[in-house]
């Protein structure tokens, strides 16, 4: 860190005035400690503010709609409006708080480092690591091709690479946070565990099938230099990273959250409670496979899907069916497949999609059995 940069961070610091070019190391320590403390206090204050808002959210809408606006909680309109505002605020708070914490935690694990961790380990460890890091690190779908090449060309077995590629979109951090907030922590945890288990099983099965011949040969021809290392980030780097990440995520999902919860509120208010039971959908053996297949071609933001899952589940649709629908929407998307087509030959792509589809159907049945 240069002296100029240093002064830039602490413009009002009296200590820096005495800094000379060779005295820089001497003065850096107290000033960095102060910045660190200030950052720490800021984080604690932000955490406290978050808790206050979260607790206040439970009460404030009762007062606003039922006491001030005079809506009746027993009417459809009253409960739908209350549900919409209460749930939107709650979900946005959860997303902001938890995504910030998750981003802070994973600011030091870029995929290059994950790859370096996996290369050379026993293949069983590789599957486990791929699933864990796949769940922790989201990547935009256009990164799937460079990731695939980077893993395979570095010597990560194809099956392990596929486990990573399946877990990453499937265990979506926003999906997990919203499920936890709307359906329950147990369900969110079950989703994470079964999703990772499914990705590992799918990876192991696929690795048994000798699929390397269907990987486009150009993948192995690319010379991939060893992973770049940006150095160890400081706390302020991490906080900055987490802040930017949280703002970007909120900016990209808030519309879907609003629309999803809006439709969910509509379902809560106007769809009869026994809708799925009376139409026979809830009891059908075909509900889970049908929901899974219906979700494959659909591509929607997970933030918009979770509120619908919650609403239809509240109306009696089996959780397995609802979850299978959500998982096939997020795990298998047409844009991602088109990109992967560039590195995987059609048979491999087809086997990959079929395996994941079957895995999701399996998870759907597991959910129905447990709940």
């Amino acid at each position: 860190m240069s002296a100029t940069e240093h002064r830039g961070q602490e413009p009002s610091g009296g200590v820096e005035a005495r800094v000379s070019s060779d005295g820089e190391t001497l003065e850096r320590v107290p000033s960095r400690g102060r910045a660190f403390r200030r950052l720490g206090l800021g984080l604690i204050a932000a955490g406290a503010a978050w808790v206050v808002l979260y607790v206040a959210n439970e009460r404030v809408w009762d007062v606003v709609f039922y006491e001030l606006a005079g809506l009746d909680p027993a009417t459809r309109l009253g409960s739908a409006v209350h549900f919409f505002f209460y749930d939107t605020a709650k979900i946005m708070l959860l997303i902001v708080g938890l995504i910030f914490v998750i981003s802070l935690a994973r600011s030091s694990i870029p995929p290059e480092r994950v790859r370096d961790l996996i290369v050379g380990r026993h293949v069983a460890v590789g599957f486990g690591l791929a699933a864990v890091f796949g769940a922790l690190t989201p990547f935009c779908s256009c990164s799937s091709v460079p990731l695939f090449i980077g893993f395979v060309a570095a010597g990560v077995p194809l099956g392990v690479t596929l486990t990573f590629l399946i877990t990453s979109p499937l265990i979506n951090q926003i999906g997990v946070v919203m499920l936890a907030g709307m359906v329950g922590w147990e369900i969110a945890a079950l989703y994470v565990l079964t999703g990772m288990a499914m990705a590992i099983v799918a990876g192991v099965v696929l690795s048994r099938c000798n699929l390397e011949r269907w990987v486009d040969p150009f993948v192995t021809d690319i010379a991939v230099p060893a992973g770049i290392d940006g150095g160890k980030p400081t706390l302020s780097d991490r906080v900055e990273f987490a802040k930017v990440e949280t703002i970007d995520i909120v900016r990209s999902v808030w519309v879907y959250v609003l629309v999803g919860i809006g439709i969910g509120a509509g379902i809560h208010g106007w769809v009869p409670a026994d809708f799925f039971a009376t139409t026979g959908i809830a009891d059908s053996v075909w509900a889970v496979p049908a929901a899974t297949l219906a979700g494959v071609p659909l591509y929607a933001n997970v933030a918009g899907v979770v509120p619908l899952i919650e609403a239809v589940h509240a109306k009696g649709l089996g959780l397995g069916t609802a979850m299978a629908f959500m998982m096939s929407i997020v795990a298998l998307s047409l844009p991602a497949m088109i990109l992967l087509k560039r590195v995987m030959r059609l048979p491999l792509l087809a086997i990959y999609v079929a395996t994941v589809t079957l895995g999701i159907i399996g998870i759907g049945f597991i959910f129905d059995l447990i709940t």
Binding site: P110, R115, C142, P146, L147, F151, V224, A226, G227, F241
Partner: protein, 77 residues
């Protein structure tokens, strides 16, 4: 300064390019910005997660979109 934005052209890559231009404006520095969209070339930089940013041959960002403030800091070196 020679800047390359690595990425096949998804939203994140577009955002990164826009923020890079903003950061350059803030600094008042002249630079050439080149977009690298070819996968093999992107991989050649050792970048596995897009978008990536290369300044004078050094990869400074991969797999995320930093803020304009962070980019300005990176460009100052």
């Amino acid at each position: 300064m020679d800047i390359k934005v690595l990425g096949p052209g998804c939203n994140n890559c577009v955002t990164l390019e826009a923020r890079t231009r903003d950061a350059l404006d803030d600094l008042g520095t002249d630079a050439t910005i080149e977009k690298v969209t070819d996968t093999a070339q992107i991989m050649g930089y050792g970048v596995m997660a897009t978008p990536g940013l290369v300044i004078d041959g050094n990869v400074v960002v991969s797999g995320r979109v930093p803020s304009v403030k962070q980019l300005t800091k990176l460009m100052k070196g």
